[in-house]
């Protein structure tokens, strides 16, 4: 008797089984932001109820009047509900149930136009634009909070906000900025451009990439909701035991930062695997655009450092809820534990903020100097060097805290050493300027602004790395000025350069160049007017995060506050330009307005789904300006058989004719 069998069908990687056509559904029934919000609200209510069920009988909860369990469970389940409402778990649940999972392209083509930006999308270009809009929104929120801080600091004696509100605003501003802006460049530009720059049709893990984006609005809302609880009084650094002592606002801080840490890990992981595994044939490491080197280095930092942050936040939550004593000295813990854990993450974090800026400006200046990037290997080595060394310098935040004294020369050495690879960026830039033909387009102006600002920021970092000088400078506005110069003067200026440079590619729309030049000059002048005097303010003895200060510093603080309001106006110019150009004017920009050799400019603007019709073969480097008869970077239509020779087991290319 013959046993009837059916042939085994291989499960295609990515979970693609025999797909059934999806029935069309109206837009409000398909998962998108609105279902996400509903899910989030339901999740929060369930979590809050659960927390009350568990903990409302505890003495600690009753006496202190705060139920941290309810708040934290509410936030966590609210985030899960938000993600579930967006449909993020749908594919996973389908696979677990053995049902077919729709293929990637069908999903993206099913929603067209504006609607797909409000959904969970597997197209890295859609995620890039979502990140771009999200990041601009988060940045503007942090900026408004900064305006509030400077309003309070106009007078040392008249108080616009009460002391508790002020310190809550300071904490929200700092956390919002650092937390959200960690992905300022990797999110929009990393996700959008890395596949285009390496000649790939897709990202390695599109679901993780989309998840990393959708965690950010959750983190944003969780963080802002802390204001409803009165905020948190410990700034973005969250030092214990103060953070264990604080009221409910601290829970928003811990959960928001934890969520953002998860987002960073996923974002970085995806980029690492994509760059390593999805490069087109011919895209050797020596032809990789410097921007991708920066993305790769930053991604490694994210993947290695963010887990420590998530762990530290978890320990803080445990101290605040289940009465562990990680950070309580009298019961065997240590206040130093938090400091070390936090800064072990915190220092790589600031290089997560700085490296993408290096990548963008190094990518942009060859285009507008019409010269190859000088010292490409030096630049790449600089980024790798910064990445490696950044794990060895964190105790320079703890020089005065009472750490073992012989650690201090060690960390002074490593901190001084890290300025060497950082300096490579300047070597590369100055070399690229040599005998160039420099065009002062808006992206180039922002890149030049980056170099100016980062010079000041970087040199002030050397002042801080010197332990004796740090005795006076630590915890003052000098530190504030240093990191605002490197992060805002560096990263944000580079972000603006990237927006003006790549928006024609990403949206096929030109930003108004006149407004762009107004934006640059006002932002550059008022940025320096705001932050340069802060070095003096710090050296004159004003500590950080204070709402009152010595009367003799009133004039300086007033100058800084007024400049900061004008800086806000310049950001407003950017916002007006961005919104007007993308929503109202929509001037089409096709082709290659900057005459760049980059691979991303060889495809139409905006690129079609799948980026390239066929996987390109890369035949030349990206910076071959001035080289006679240099071929374009890639052959988008390679002859048949070229790819099959590269991938010997691929059947799709067919036999050679």
């Amino acid at each position: 008797m013959a046993i009837e069998t059916q042939p085994e069908k291989a499960q295609e990687p990515g979970g693609r089984g025999p797909g059934a056509p999806r029935p069309g559904r109206p837009w409000w029934m398909r998962p998108a932001i609105h279902t996400g919000i509903i899910g989030g609200v339901i999740g929060y209510l369930v979590g809050h109820w659960l927390g009350n069920l568990i903990a409302s009988g505890y003495t600690q909860v009753q006496n202190s009047g705060m139920n941290n369990y309810a708040i934290i469970l509410g936030y966590v389940l609210g985030t899960v509900g938000w993600l579930a409402g967006l449909g993020i778990f749908n594919d996973l649940l389908r696979q677990m149930a053995g049902r077919p999972v729709p293929a990637g392209e069908e999903e993206t083509e099913a929603s067209s136009g504006l609607a797909r930006y409000f959904r969970y999308s597997l197209d890295h270009k859609v995620v890039g634009i979502q990140y771009l809009v999200g990041m601009i929104g988060y940045f503007l929120t942090g900026g408004l909070l900064a305006m509030a801080i400077r309003t309070e600091l106009l007078s040392p004696s008249y108080h616009v906000f009460s002391a508790s509100t002020y310190i809550a605003i300071v904490g929200e501003h700092g956390t919002m900025m650092i937390m959200m802006i960690s992905s300022l460049i990797l999110g929009p530009f990393g996700n959008y451009l890395v596949p285009l720059l390496i000649g790939s049709k897709r990202m390695a893990f599109p679901r993780l990439e989309a998840l990393s984006f959708w965690l950010t609005p959750a983190a944003y809302i969780v963080l802002l909701s802390g204001l409803m609880f009165g905020g948190f009084p410990f700034g973005w650094t969250g030092y214990a035991p103060l953070s264990v002592q604080a009221t409910q606002g601290a829970d928003s801080y811990a959960v928001a930062f934890g969520l953002m840490g998860l987002s960073l890990i996923l974002l970085g992981f995806n980029i690492i695997v994509t760059v390593i595994c999805y490069r087109a044939p011919g895209m050797r490491w020596s032809r990789l655009p410097i921007f991708v080197w920066a993305m790769l280095s930053t991604a490694f930092l994210m993947v290695l450092a963010a887990p420590v942050l998530v762990g530290a936040m978890y320990m803080m939550i445990a101290d605040r809820t289940v009465q562990t004593a990680f950070f309580t000295d009298s019961l065997g813990g240590s206040s130093y534990l938090w400091q070390n854990l936090f800064w072990f993450f915190g220092h790589p974090e600031v290089y997560i903020l700085a490296l993408p800026g290096f990548g963008i400006v190094s990518e942009i200046i060859p285009v507008f100097c019409r010269k190859p990037l000088f010292g490409y290997r030096v630049a790449a080595a600089g980024m790798i060097g910064v990445t490696l060394l950044s794990f060895f310098v964190w105790q320079h935040h703890l020089f005065d805290s009472g750490i073992n004294p012989d650690m201090r020369p060690v960390f002074m050495l490593t901190t001084e050493l890290i300025s060497i690879p950082t300096g490579f960026i300047f070597l590369v830039a100055l070399g690229t300027f040599w005998k160039a033909k420099i065009r002062f387009t808006v992206p180039m102006l922002f890149a030049l602004g980056f170099y100016f600002n980062f010079l000041i920021g970087g040199i002030s970092g050397v002042f801080l790395s010197d332990v004796p000088a740090d005795t006076t400078e630590h915890g003052t506005f000098f530190v504030m000025a240093h990191f605002h110069y490197t992060i805002m003067g560096g990263l944000v200026f580079a972000f603006m350069a990237g927006v003006y440079y790549w928006l024609p590619k990403m949206m096929g729309i030109k930003l108004n160049q006149t407004l762009g030049k107004w934006h640059f000059w006002t932002m550059f002048i008022f940025f320096n007017a705001t932050f340069l005097p802060l070095f003096a303010v710090g050296m004159a003895g004003q500590p950080r995060r204070v709402y009152e200060y010595a009367r003799n510093l009133t004039t300086l603080n007033d100058w800084v506050s007024i400049s900061s309001f004008l800086l806000g106006v310049s950001i407003l110019i950017f916002l007006v330009n961005f919104v007007y150009s993308t929503v109202i004017a929509r001037v089409r920009e096709e082709g290659n307005p900057w005459r760049s050799r980059g691979l991303e400019w060889q495809v139409p603007s905006p690129p079609p789904p799948g980026n390239f019709a066929r996987v390109p073969v890369v035949i030349s480097g990206p910076y071959e300006y001035g080289v006679k008869d240099a071929p374009p970077m890639a052959d988008l239509d390679p002859p048949l058989g070229v790819l099959s020779r590269a991938y010997s087991d691929t059947v799709t290319e067919g036999a050679e004719a």
Binding site: Q60, A163, P233, F234, T237, Y239, P241, L242, Q245, T328, D329, S330, L331, G332, S335, Y336, K371, F374, Y376, R377, V378, G402, N404, D406, M412, L413, E416, S419, I420, G423, F424, L427, L430, F433, W434, A436, K437, I438, Y451, F452, L455, I456, I459, V462, S465, D466, V467, P468, D470, T471, T472, H474, G475, M539, G541, P543, R545, Y547, E548, G626
Partner: protein, 314 residues
């Protein structure tokens, strides 16, 4: 024609100015001027002043670093300025620039020079850290850089939310909210906290030491001039962090002794009920306070946070 091209090219190369030399000649006077202004004009007024040995050493430190930083910054700015003016794009010129991919000599020189500067600063910084006994920074509870010449004046700084208190163990251990120091004598600050992390920062004395609960953080200095100084808290410790200020005084040795004796007498009743002088004050370990908390049914960690069965020593 080959014969007319070669002289034309050579002519062009001869007419090409020596950019490197020009940049150097612009940079040199700028860097020198900057350094001279920093050393002679700005230097004597550089923060944090010279009211103490550590402050004076930091002032010197910052001067030296500014002098090293100014030529570096001047070089980058002069070079960039020169480049943006001389090598800017001229209208109608659509050619690309020369295809210079790199220059290993230039790169090696840059790396060598920056490494030398940075390592030199490291050696300088370490020397300055060791020389005035720890440069006023908190050295933890086992300081390795101590001033010579016998036991310094001991001043314990007790930080709590939100005011500093000071104890003088060598004068009977009285505790006061005033900070008074004698001029010309080494002072040892023993900084500790009773609750969260604070930071003791007498600005004009060039000292900064974090106050951690249960930990003694030692910092040294030697006041050199009489006068007042401001103590601020330099680590965010809660809502009144900005208001944890003390105005301290440096007086002559005899005036200090008189003050200490008078205050000792004035505060005698208070000193009798204070716990014995110790380097840290864990409420579990201070007998009276531990007993008091226990009797009140609270835990030593304060506020009954851990429940009345604590402290249970791990």
């Amino acid at each position: 024609m080959a014969t007319t091209e070669a002289p034309a090219r050579a002519e062009a190369e001869r007419r090409e100015p020596n950019h490197g030399l020009r940049i150097f000649l612009i940079w040199l006077p700028a860097a020198l001027a900057a350094d001279l202004i920093i050393w002679f004009v700005w230097g004597p007024h550089m923060p944090p002043g010279d009211q103490s040995s550590t402050a004076a050493s930091q002032q010197n430190d910052i001067n030296v670093m500014a002098i090293m930083a100014a030529p570096v910054m001047a070089f980058v700015l002069v070079y960039a300025g020169y480049a943006l003016i001389v090598w800017r794009h001229r209208e109608g010129d659509d050619e690309d620039g020369p295809p210079i991919h790199g220059n290993s000599r230039i790169s090696a020189t840059w790396i060598g020079v920056t490494s030398a500067i940075v390592l030199g600063l490291f050696v300088f910084g370490t020397v300055e850290l060791v020389v005035p006994a720890g440069a006023g920074a908190g050295e933890g509870n086992t300081p390795i850089w101590r001033p010579s010449g016998g036991t310094p004046l001991q001043v314990q700084v007790i930080a709590q939310q939100w005011r500093f208190a000071y104890r003088y163990p060598q004068f009977g251990g009285f505790e006061t909210t005033s900070l008074v120091l004698p001029v010309g004598q080494n002072v040892q600050f023993n900084v500790t906290s009773l609750d969260v992390i604070h930071s003791f920062w007498p600005y004009q004395l060039g000292v900064k030491a974090d106050a951690n609960p249960g930990v003694n953080n030692v910092a040294y200095t030697e006041p050199q001039h009489t006068g007042t100084f401001t103590v601020r808290c330099a680590e965010l410790c809660g809502i009144w962090h900005a208001d944890m200020t003390t105005t301290g005084q440096v007086m002559s040795v005899s005036a200090f002794r008189a003050w200490a004796a008078a205050t000792r007498v004035q505060l005698a009743a208070l000193t009798k009920i204070l716990p014995p002088y110790a380097l840290t004050y864990d409420p579990n370990l201070v007998p009276q306070l531990g007993k008091a908390f226990h009797q009140a049914g609270l835990s030593g960690a304060g506020g009954n946070y851990y429940g009345s069965q604590y402290p249970v020593q791990p």
